[in-house]
């Protein structure tokens, strides 16, 4: 009975944490990032790592209230309130919920807990499936990504419809068995024997979900694929690429007519974790230790491009406090507040260059005199040269906000009469 109550409490907490995660209460995440992540993200001092279901399962069994109590009062190496006495109990509890949400998304809690948690979950059946896949993603990143992202040792790559189609022929059930018991080069449970079977299944589900659009239901009959684009896609090897291409580039996409989109990064693929970003080697032991950008960015003001972070606003609001000197944390920037207006050709609004935002990050010598001659009219600037990495393009389009944020520079309306300070302050990164 006690477990049961804990279980529904846990499920509620997890649901609550899932809501929190969706952005309802960013507070919990901020508290977690500021006070808990230092140890619980890395496992320092024996702290159970967030997302490590195996490490948490024994602790979950003690009940959510025990977890709250330990987090508030401290236990072993865990200091009271994570060492930040100024936190309220509610904030600590919210952070605990956040960890529970990340670790035991409904469906990933230990089996006994999960079974009794069902009554709550069935209310939100759809949410549970989504949560299973989300949990599967976490498991995947921890236990499977090393091989299945790169295709190491012949592993079918994540999202490679052709590679998975041949393995999915016998249905997901046999894939579960292969994943749990091992097969060929695939070690049992991906080499992590402590992984609960439910987690392995969730990871398989996640991997299958990545190719769902491309998988033909069981038997992929390429020969009779006159109409089925999906079957054609699954049979598309390098040799018969011509057969596929006869249907046009669409054959590479899933059947969703909106799937074709080469230049836009869909929201789910922005700020990928290092193992998934295409440049880090997922099989390198260092890659797994690197911080995922989203962990850092979630509490920062977002933008539409670049890192999807409004760095200027983050600095202005002191949400980040980058040092001005490598060794002296107290050194302050020498800020110069002077706007330079450049009248430009054509219909584009004139450019307002704010020294203020630039001197918050940079030293005069970074730009003057090598990139910009400090003299009016001495600098020829064009968008073409900027796009090729000259002038403003030395930073903008590389690390500072991208050039597609036209209005941040082209900020002053032509024929506006007076050069008002209002237009000038609209320049630079949004404040």
């Amino acid at each position: 009975m006690k477990t049961r109550r804990f279980a529904s409490g846990l499920a509620l907490a997890a649901l609550f944490a899932a809501l929190t995660h969706a952005g309802e209460l960013p507070n919990a995440k901020a508290v977690y990032d500021a006070n808990c992540a230092g140890c619980h993200a890395t496992g320092i001092a024996g702290a159970p790592r967030t997302g490590d279901a195996a490490a948490w399962s024994a602790r979950f069994d003690t009940g959510i209230n025990t977890l709250y109590g330990n987090a508030i009062k401290g236990k072993g190496a865990m200091p009271p309130k994570g060492g930040n006495a100024s936190l309220t109990d509610a904030q600590v509890m919210a952070a605990v919920n956040h960890i529970v949400g990340l670790t035991a998304a409904p469906g990933a809690a230990p089996p006994a807990v999960r079974a009794s948690a069902k009554p709550v979950e069935t209310v939100k059946g759809g949410a549970r499936v989504a949560a299973d896949v989300a949990k599967g993603k976490l498991v995947y990143q921890a236990a499977c990504a090393a091989c299945h992202t790169s295709g190491l040792a012949g592993a079918p790559k994540l999202g490679d419809g052709a590679a998975w189609a041949s393995r999915n022929g016998a249905g997901a059930g046999s894939l579960y068995i292969s994943a749990i018991k091992g097969k060929g080069a695939m070690p049992p449970k991906g080499g992590n024997a402590s992984l609960p079977e439910a987690d392995v299944r969730a990871a398989v589900d996640f991997m299958l979900a990545q190719v769902r659009g491309e998988l033909a239901p069981p038997k992929p009959t390429a020969s009779s694929a006159s109409t089925a684009l999906t079957a054609a896609a699954s049979a598309a090897t390098a040799e018969n690429v011509m057969a596929v291409s006869a249907r046009g580039p669409v054959a590479h996409e899933s059947q969703d007519p909106n799937a074709f989109n080469r230049l836009m990064v869909p929201p789910g693929r922005r700020n990928p974790s290092p193992a998934e970003d295409g440049i880090h080697d997922p099989s390198s032991p260092g890659t797994a230790q690197l911080q995922a950008p989203l962990r850092s960015f979630q509490s920062l003001p977002r933008s539409n491009l670049g890192n999807y972070v409004n760095w200027g606003a983050a600095l202005g609001k002191k949400q980040i406090q980058p040092r001005w000197d490598a060794r002296d944390p107290k050194a302050e920037a020498t800020v110069m507040d002077l706007n330079i207006v450049r009248e430009v050709k054509g219909s584009m609004p004139d450019v307002v260059f704010p020294h203020k935002q630039h001197t918050e990050w940079l030293d005069c010598s970074n730009c003057h005199p090598a990139i910009f001659v400090p003299q009016k009219g001495a600098n020829q600037i064009s968008m073409a040269s900027i796009m090729l990495g000259q002038k403003c393009g030395v930073c903008h389009g590389k690390v500072a906000f991208p050039i597609s944020e036209c209005r941040l520079c082209h900020a002053r309306q032509k024929n506006a009469g007076t050069r008002t300070a209002e237009a000038a302050t609209a320049g630079g990164e949004k404040k």
């Binding site: 590479h252 970003d277 670049g306 890192n307 030293d363």
Partner: protein, 153 residues
């Protein structure tokens, strides 16, 4: 008839271009991530990934690009491990006093072997290397769709 055949050929060309450059599109690293592979591959190490975003949360641009003398050019600083252990470039901080020390090789040398030196997601990267080919492909497909109705007439 021949027009529709040409449409198919155009589409085939477009698709094979997409297939050829599909690999290039797989990299969607963080804006400003720099891969440095001046010497790594030939020395049998993974190339270095420098995450700008991680460093700009902690330091202003000026610290590295003025005080430490990093040029604004991916791979343009000819950094090697000797300079680093002598306290230049990365070694000014990555010495165990400001940031973790150099024996954590894998934290920097973490790129896929063979990744060329480049600044990821930069305008010039999007305009030239892989982007140019995909622009060609997307230019070809509208032509194909235009010619199909012409063939029907």
């Amino acid at each position: 008839m021949s027009a529709s055949w040409r449409a198919v050929a155009c589409a085939a060309l477009a698709a094979s271009v997409v297939a050829l450059f599909g690999a290039a599109q797989e990299a969607h690293a963080e804006y400003g991530d720099v891969v440095i592979n001046n010497y790594s591959d030939s020395a049998g190490m993974r190339p270095v990934v420098f995450p700008h975003w991680f460093h700009r949360v902690r330091f202003r641009c000026k610290v590295c690009h003025s005080d430490l003398g990093f040029k604004f050019k991916a791979g343009g600083n000819e950094i090697n491990m000797l300079k680093i252990i002598d306290g230049q470039f990365c070694g000014a901080c990555h010495n165990g006093s400001v940031a973790w020390p150099v024996e954590n090789c894998d934290l920097c040398h973490s790129a896929k072997p063979g990744t060329p030196t480049q600044l990821h997601e930069s305008s010039i990267n999007l305009l030239s290397v892989p982007g140019a080919a995909s622009t060609g492909a997307s230019a070809a497909s509208p032509i194909a769709t235009k010619r199909v109705p012409a063939g029907k007439k």
